[in-house]
């Protein structure tokens, strides 16, 4: 029994190890964003509607976030700084909250307020349109309305990449 058990255990470990090794070897599949960004309209925090069309001509950064997502919460104050800095140069930032019930998000925003517009994507339609495959997801749309940049996840230091991309696109 011991021998069969040992072989079985090692067989299972070998399979999983091989699968894992291959998984680690594969770089993160990130389809290069291209083409026009999908148009959408969402209810806005504070009332009214928010639509992508109203920002045509500006560089638009959309950040998909949720109050239950640690890295999203960590990123928000930095996004606020970026918004404040580049807002007057033809740049805007939209925070799309993906929660079906926005109460937790509103409570969190009360404690950590931001000045950029927040839209509620309660039925996940906009998340699906933008093929959100990780939390948080940040996309940047140029002045012509084309999707030019996509970043999944947030680690401290990522905002440097955002700033470089925004600076370049704002000059276009």
């Amino acid at each position: 029994m011991q021998n069969r058990l040992k072989r079985l255990s090692l067989g299972i470990v070998a399979t999983l190890a091989a699968g894992t090794a291959i998984m680690i070897a594969l770089p993160a599949v990130a389809a290069d964003p291209s083409g026009p960004a999908p148009q959408f309209t969402l209810p806005e925090k504070g009332g009214g509607q928010l639509s992508l069309a109203q920002y045509k001509g500006q560089v638009v950064m959309i950040n998909f976030w949720a109050s239950w997502c640690g890295p999203c919460r960590q990123e928000m104050p930095l996004l606020e700084d970026i918004y404040k800095k580049y807002h007057k140069l033809g740049f805007t930032l939209i925070g799309v909250n993906v929660e079906p019930d926005s109460k937790a998000a509103d409570d969190w925003l009360k404690a950590t307020p931001v000045t950029f517009p927040i839209g509620y994507d309660k039925d996940s339609k906009v998340s699906q349109m933008f093929k959100v495959s990780g939390m948080p997801t940040t996309v940047i749309i140029d002045r012509k309305g084309n999707l030019r940049y996509r970043h999944i996840s947030y680690k401290p230091g990522d905002e440097g990449e955002y700033l470089n991309t925004i600076r370049a696109m704002v000059r276009e």
């Binding site: 058990l5 255990s9 067989g11 470990v13 091989a18 894992t20 998984m23 599949v29 290069d32």
Partner: protein, 460 residues
Amino acid sequence: MQLVNWLKVACGAFSGMTRGDSVGGGQKAWFLPACRALRGAFSGVGRGDSFGGGQKAWFLPACRAVCGAFSGVERGRWGKVLAVLCLAGAPAIADVLPDDRADVLYHNYTGGGITIQGPSVLVRKKVGDNLSFTENYYEDLISSASIDVRLSASPYHETRKQESGSVDYLHGKTIYTAGYIHSREPDYKSDTAYFSISQSMFGDLTTVSMGYRRGWDNVYRDVKVAGVLQNDPTFHERADHRGYSVSVSQILTRNAILDVNFEAITDQGYLASPYRKIRYLDPTVAGKGFTLADQIYPNTRTSTATSAQFKYYLPWHAAVTGQYRFYNDTWGITGHTIEVDYTHPWRKFIFDGSLRYYLQNPANFYSDLFPRANYQNFMARDRELAAFHSIAIGLGGEWDFDFPWIRKKSSLNLHYNHLLINYSDFRDALLAGDGTYTAGNEPLYKLNANVLQLFWSLWF
């Protein structure tokens, strides 16, 4: 061989793969050696012990120790105990390291003539973005006048101390964990090293963990010399342990998650207790009718345990958990564990309730009373190896609050468990010969124990 043909197909698929942008020319070359190695590993499976030197070298990087590990075997007169303390905590998600926290716990077990209490302090701290360190200090202050102690020895007090530390390293979607546990008491020292890897995959719906664990124990014995307990210099035994574990965690729906775990453990060396005794029927002993003798254990033990845990989010904001574990080993012990838990948050509180049922079939060398001396090669009377069923109910309350001054999340927790064990083949041998019971006809033993935990947690 059919398996090798399948693998040829798989490897052929990989080498021809050009899906998406992720697999380009450079990547192809990487796969093939891995595939060949895998094929080579499997072609040995059907042909006996081919996992020798050459193959082992390939596996070692991939063998990790996942949680659920055991430290050393805690022996001594508190019985056969595997101190489970993978207090690094299982790396729950292989994309973010667990939050920094500190826990201070007071634990108390009282029942069957034993009281064991003490502290457990845990600190987990991130250093940078990718490293997290965990340290734990744990103590058992043991005061034992258990049924086993009263039968073959005398009540004693003892302290067991345990220190453990581990590090988690996050790289992409993988967490690598390495840890070490050292446990010591006057008559038992154990050291355990473990290593595990946890990989998040398939859109983060699946987490696969693998672990390897290695333990080294040194067993000593205390004897009473002129009424004073001291170490017996003539007694020093060793025991070694190896553990392999695999876990797969799968998110099933928005509300449900399923974990499947498999763990194989091998022990070698001195696996008995220097203090516990067996008893055999002896009509020449007036009154009691039995004589005590040394237990004789096999010097190897291999066990496998397979378990599944299912957790479901209830629509009124609560959670229910169902668990089942099947255990089997080369000593003939089988164990079935079933547990149901319910968690209900309410305002600043979280309430937990649990019900656990355990059924065990005995070791094949266990007997409460052997018919005569030297009845068989291996003999044991440890009730941990007996036939019994147990029921444990648990209740817990957690109060969440913001810690003053630093305004970080904090909680105060109280957990109570009641454990009832009904033995089917372990009798209260202390009652033999008191006029009512003869050896082998004493009432079956029942254990009632209360377990209390009071702890404070801080997230920082």
